[in-house]
Every structure is written in C-alpha cells, then in structure tokens.
C-alpha cells in the first residue's frame, strides 16, 4: 500500500523548507532580555529596581566627573571656575580634579626626587619583565635568570647608591647554592640544607660590607642615593606589597611543610610562628615595627622603618599563606605521598615534583586572596606615619589650598588599587584555567 497517498493527497513536498528567521520576540536582544531580565513578574520588578538604582548612581557620578575642573591652584579656585562655567544659581556638582593634576606625582611617588622619577618607572618595567617567565608559559624558560637578578636590579634602581651593595648581597645566594651543591655531594641532604642556611648567613653578617666595598671599587657604577624617607605614595604601597608577596610565598610554603613535618622542633617552631603571627592583628605588628623595635635597638642604630615594615608584613602574610598551602597539602590524597615514596624520591624531590605542583594548584584561589588582602593592607602603614597614598592624601588635605577635598583623592587612590588587585585576580583565573587537568 505504498502508493496510498498518491491517490489521497494532492501534493507532497519533496524538499526541505529553508529555516525561517525566528520571530522577533525569540531572537537577539529581545530574547536575551526576556530570558534574563523579564522572565517573570518578580524579575521584571527586580530589573526595574536595579535600573533605578543604577540610574540614580550614574546621575550623581557622571555629571560630577563630566564637570570636573582640571586646572586650578586651590579648592576655592575650583569652585570659582565651576561657578563661572555653570552659574551660581543651581547646584552643579563638579569634581575638583585639579588636585590630582597638581599632586599626582606625590600620590604616586611621595617625595622621591622629581628628576629621578625615571628610576621607579624603570624598576616597574624590570618588575613586569621579570614576572613574564614566572607567570606565563609562553615566555622562554631561560629568562628565569633575569627574574632572579631582577630584585637586586630593582633595589639598586629604587634606592641607588653603589652597585656593590646589591651585588654583594646577591653573592650570598650564590654562596647558599654552592654550599647546597657541595654539601649534597660530599655529605647528606641534611648537612646540605644546614650549610645552605648557615653559610650565607655568616657571609651576610661578616663579609657583605667589605665585599660591597671591593665590588664598588672595582666597578664604580653609582646612582644617586635616595633614602627611604623620601619614598611615599602608591610607590611605597607597591614596594611593600610586592616585596611582601614575593618573600612571603616561599616562607609560607616552608612553614606549611614545617607544620606537616615529623621533626619535633621544626614542627613546633612552625606552629608557634604561625599561631603567634596570625593571632595578632597586623596593625599591632606595624606599631611594633615602628615603636617597640626602637627601644630594643641600641641608640643611634637607624634600622630603616620601611625595611622593618616589609619584614613584619612578610612574616604576617607568610603565616596566613602557610595555612592556605597546608589546606592544599591536606587535600592531596594519601596515595600521592606514597607514590612519591614508592618511586624512591627523597623528601625535596617528592615535594618539588609531586606534592607541591598539585597542592599549590589547589591553593591558588586562597593564595591570591591572601596576596590581594596583603596588598590592600599596606595602607595600614598610615598609622605609623608612613606616607602611603592614604597618608599622602591626608598630607595634601593639610595644605590650606586643598583642605576639605575628599572624593577626588579617594577615587584616584581606589583606581590605582583596583587596577593592581583586579589584574591579580584575572591572572589567578587564567592560571586556574591553564592548570586545569580535568576534562569538563
């Protein structure tokens, strides 16, 4: 009966119709809006509310920013210019961005000598270049040597002085490496580790000064010395934050390993360190750095305040990081440790090749979280009289020309911090995607 239809149906289509464009309500922007903004009466209500809030915010902020006065010598002059432009009759909100135009250099560099601004900028470029090999897989691995040299170069660029000092300190790390290699060849791993700690310490305590003088004499390259007290503004926050981040990561990993260690003394020392530093607020540590240490140090020994702050911020962040990394270590299945043992790897090789890569990957969000927190916490140094951006903004407001100006300065500072923290956050997401090994 295959031809039944041939008799009963007059016409049978033998080709497919070309697909029609969906109805207007089911495509493009309209569909998206229906699906995401107006899918039910409740969502319609929320959308309208949201738009109203957004509108009221923007209606306040945009004209304020749009009407900005960019060139003036004082807040009162700003107001005069505004009144001249818009008339005194109605209230016109207008930002007095002239304070940024005049004082941007202090907000960025503090009291760093103006003709030497190229040096912090060069240090920043070195820093970004040095990050490349560490952060991005596409950059050649060999450039890691540049990364290792970068901290000393950056120190020299920022503070200046003879090149001998940074080079002499760098030699200490070479000494540590040498001691480790020699130690592991001729005795055990433990002796190598101890040697790698003791030798550079002895070198730094006893020999750095003479060696620095010697190198300075041989290579007479010198930059104008800039004392720490001239550092300020966002540069100060950035230096403290970045130094804290870079130094606290290795220290935090070591502490996490120490806390997991079976060796009694190392284990208890790590626990004590972590709990003490984590149990006390950062502001207390900063006040310790600025007030108490002065009483312990002999009179006349001028231990740089910025260095003191960097050390304590580092120790504080390291305690937090140690716990974050410990979380990562705890999340690893027991089998990973046993597999490393079964392969006959020693402790450090097992950590380096098997445990840490996985533990750190798990901990990335926590680590970056700690970093961002640390970076923002650097503004707490305002309480010990360092002129970070917040402290600088207070000092600028103390100038009679700019007294009473708030939002413009805070918006600028907020923007600087946002750029840094947002890039860290984006990078961590990139890293998580790159290291993802599941197949979802």
């Amino acid at each position: 009966m295959s031809d039944t239809h041939a008799h009963t149906v007059a016409y049978v289509r033998d080709t497919m119709l070309p697909p029609e464009v969906p109805p207007a309500a089911e495509r493009g922007v309209i569909r998206w809006m229906r699906a995401n903004l107006f899918s039910s009466w409740f969502n319609v209500l929320l959308t309208i509310l949201g738009l109203a809030v957004l509108w009221s915010l923007l209606a306040g902020i945009l004209p304020w920013f749009w009407n900005s006065v960019w060139v003036a010598d004082s807040l009162s002059e700003c107001r005069e210019i505004r009144d001249a432009l818009h008339g005194t009759g109605e209230e016109v909100s207008s930002a007095c961005m002239a304070v940024i135009t005049e004082r941007w250099n202090q907000l960025l560099f503090g009291f760093y000598p103006q003709d030497l601004y190229w040096r912090p900028v060069a240090a920043l470029i070195v820093f970004l270049a040095a990050l490349g090999p560490v952060l991005f897989a596409s950059v050649p691995r060999r450039l890691v040597w540049f990364t290792a040299a970068a901290p000393f170069l950056m120190y020299w660029l920022l503070w200046g002085g003879s090149i001998g000092g940074p080079l002499a300190v760098a030699l200490g790390f070479a000494a540590a490496w040498g001691a480790f290699v020699l130690g592991s060849r001729f005795s055990g791993a433990l002796a190598a580790t101890i040697g790698a700690i003791v030798v550079p310490l002895l070198y730094w305590l006893l020999l750095t000064g003479p060696v620095a003088g010697l190198i300075g004499a041989v290579i007479p390259i010198e930059l104008q010395f800039v004392p720490s007290k001239d550092f300020g503004g966002f540069m100060l926050s950035f230096i403290i934050g970045v130094a804290g981040i870079i130094l606290s990561l290795p220290l935090g990993i070591l502490l996490a390993l120490g806390r997991q260690s079976n060796l009694f003394i190392i284990n208890k020392c790590s626990i004590a360190f972590i709990e003490v530093f984590r149990g006390v607020p950062l502001i207390v540590w900063l006040l310790t750095a600025s007030l108490l240490l002065n009483y312990f140090l002999p009179p006349g020994s001028n231990f740089d305040l910025m260095l003191r702050v960097i050390i304590l911020v580092t120790l504080f962040a390291a305690a937090y990081l140690a716990e974050v990394v410990r979380g990562g270590l705890a999340a690893l299945p027991r089998g990973q440790y046993e597999a490393a043992d079964a392969l006959g790897l020693d402790y450090w090789k097992a950590q380096r090749l098997i445990i840490m890569p996985q533990a750190l990957k798990i901990s990335i969000p926590g680590i970056v979280n700690t970093f961002i927190g640390l970076f923002k916490d650097t503004t707490l140094v305002v309480f010990i009289g360092l002129l970070d951006p917040i402290g600088m903004s207070n000092a600028i407001r103390a100038d009679t020309s700019w007294q009473g100006i708030n939002w413009e300065l805070f918006v600028f500072i907020g923007l600087l911090f946002f750029i840094c923290c947002f890039s860290m956050s984006r990078y961590s997401q990139h890293l998580e995607r790159r290291l993802r090994t599941d197949h979802s």
């Binding site: 730094w204 002065n294 312990f296 402290g391 407001r397 009679t400």
Partner: protein
Amino acid sequence: MIKSVFLGTFAAAGLAAGVAGAATLDDVKANDVLKCGISTGLAGFSAPDANGVWQGFDVAVCRAVAAAVLGDSNKIEFVPLTTQTRFTALGSGEIDLLSRNTTWTFTRDVDLKQTFVGVNYYDGQGFMIRKDMGVGSATELDGATVCIQTGTTTELNLSDYFRVNNMDYDPVPIETNNEAIQQYQAGACDVYTTDASGLAATRATFEDAEAHMILPEIISKEPLGPVVRHGDDQWADIVRWTLNALIAAEEYGVTSANLEKMAEGTDNPEINRLLGNEGNLGEMLGLDAEFARRAIAVAGNYGEIFASNIGEGTPIGLARGLNAQWTQGGLMYSPPFR
C-alpha cells in the same frame, strides 16, 4: 649596614630604654642634620607643598632651630609622626625635636619624661555651629548633638563643661577631623568641637563659610609647644632660646626686613645681645654669637611666621588672640636676653 643591624639587634637587650642620654647637640652636629618630628598633615601647622617641601607653623620652629644650630634651615630630616608614634619616636632617639602641635600637660612633662621648652601656640577648645541655629553662646547648647573626636582630651573637656553648666548633649563619635567635617556638613550634628585653630581652619574650607560661626567660649587650655627629651638640658636650652629669640624679635621690632640693618648694631642693648653684637649669649649655649640672627633670618620673627602660616591673611585666618605679644594683651612673653 646590614651587619650593624643584626649585631645591634643582639646587643639590644642590655641597652634598652634610657636611650641617647646627653649630647643631642653633638649628635646633631655630627650628623649635620636635625631630625625633627612633625605632624603627618595639619593645615597651617605642617603640610607638604606641591614640591614636597614641608611648610607650616610647627615646621617653622624646626627650621629656626636647624638654622641656629647648623646654619642652614634645610639641613632637616622631617619625620612625619602620628599622635601614637610621636612620644616614642622622641624617647627612642629617632628624632631630636618634636614640633607637632603637642599640648603641654602635667603627665606628658613629668610622667612621660619629656621636656616642654615653651609654647609656640596657645590653643583652646571651641565650638562651631550653623548661624541659623540662633545660638550666640556655648551656654545655650543644651540638648545639642555634638561631633567629637574619640579618645582625645577634647572629649573629656566637653563632658566636664556640659556637666559644670548643667546641660545635656548627644555625642556623635568620629575618628578624624575630615570625618567630622563630613558629618557636620551633612547635618549629623549641630555642633562640632575641637581646638579653635582647627575649627577656624575647617570653617575656612566650607563653601558657605559665612553660614557658620565659632562660638566665643573657649573651654580648655591647650598650650602647644616643641618638646625635647628629658635629661639633656643644653639641648632643651638651645630649642627654648631659639623659640624665645623669635618671640623677642617681634617684641623688639626685629623683622626679616630690617634684620640686616639691626644686626649692624643698634642703640638697644637687648637687641644687640639678641643678635650677637654684645655679650656672649651664643657661646653660653654652645653655639656661636649669631645663632638668633640666623633663626630669625629663616622666616622672620614670631609674628611674621604666624602671619604667613596661620594669620588673618591666610585661608585659615586666625586672629592673634592669646598669641599676641604680652605688650599687646597676649601671652607671648620671652624672658630677657641678658
């Protein structure tokens, strides 16, 4: 340097406290720089200008001392200090001189082991209100809401004053002057109270300054002055008499304009002794004869420093009031240079 740092840490315990006993003068001369503690920012008293150079009424004291001792008003390392860090910085030897709107009180002088060498500004706590409140005196403030900085002597003064006058008030606690301005302008409090100099400086920044007034009552004594460490009398004398030289110069009419001419010798033996033409006052201090001449040369006498930093010609616009010379009905009174 790193070496000394570590050894210093180890050697510290035995040497703690009681630091840097005597001979601040020798230290300052040896370092060729005066380490002067100032405020991190207080309008008119200390603030960096656009070039990063510290300016202000308190800063001027530092500059005068540096000029007197080292011969150069720029040989100063300014150390910005907060209210919390100021006394420790002085006690530990981090600074040689504290010139940071610090009130001279019994406990600070006696218990905290400091020496107040004089008063460079007589301040006192006052009240600022909106004119449309229709109040002309602080005694009519019953029931007002008051913006008050927490943890300061102003808070205690306020509660004393209201109790003595049988009035009630509603405190709005705030942390900084800046926050107080926001609250006061937003109408969160009827009254803002702090040091009168601060009130004047704050009022000057208002867009509608004319709509606000500072009440005539001053309810506390806040003598502000430079501070040095206890136990170094020679250094205290140097700072004290440098400050006195600035005050005396105004009294005798020595200004930055006529200083050169006066220094050549005058009929007034007191001026001659002040400027080093007669006697050997400078040597007695351990300085040279012209120390006062150099101190005055930096920014003029006390009156000129007042006028250029916080006086009526500046946005802060403070009247001399208590800080006028004693001959003008004020309290500024230098002991004789004799």
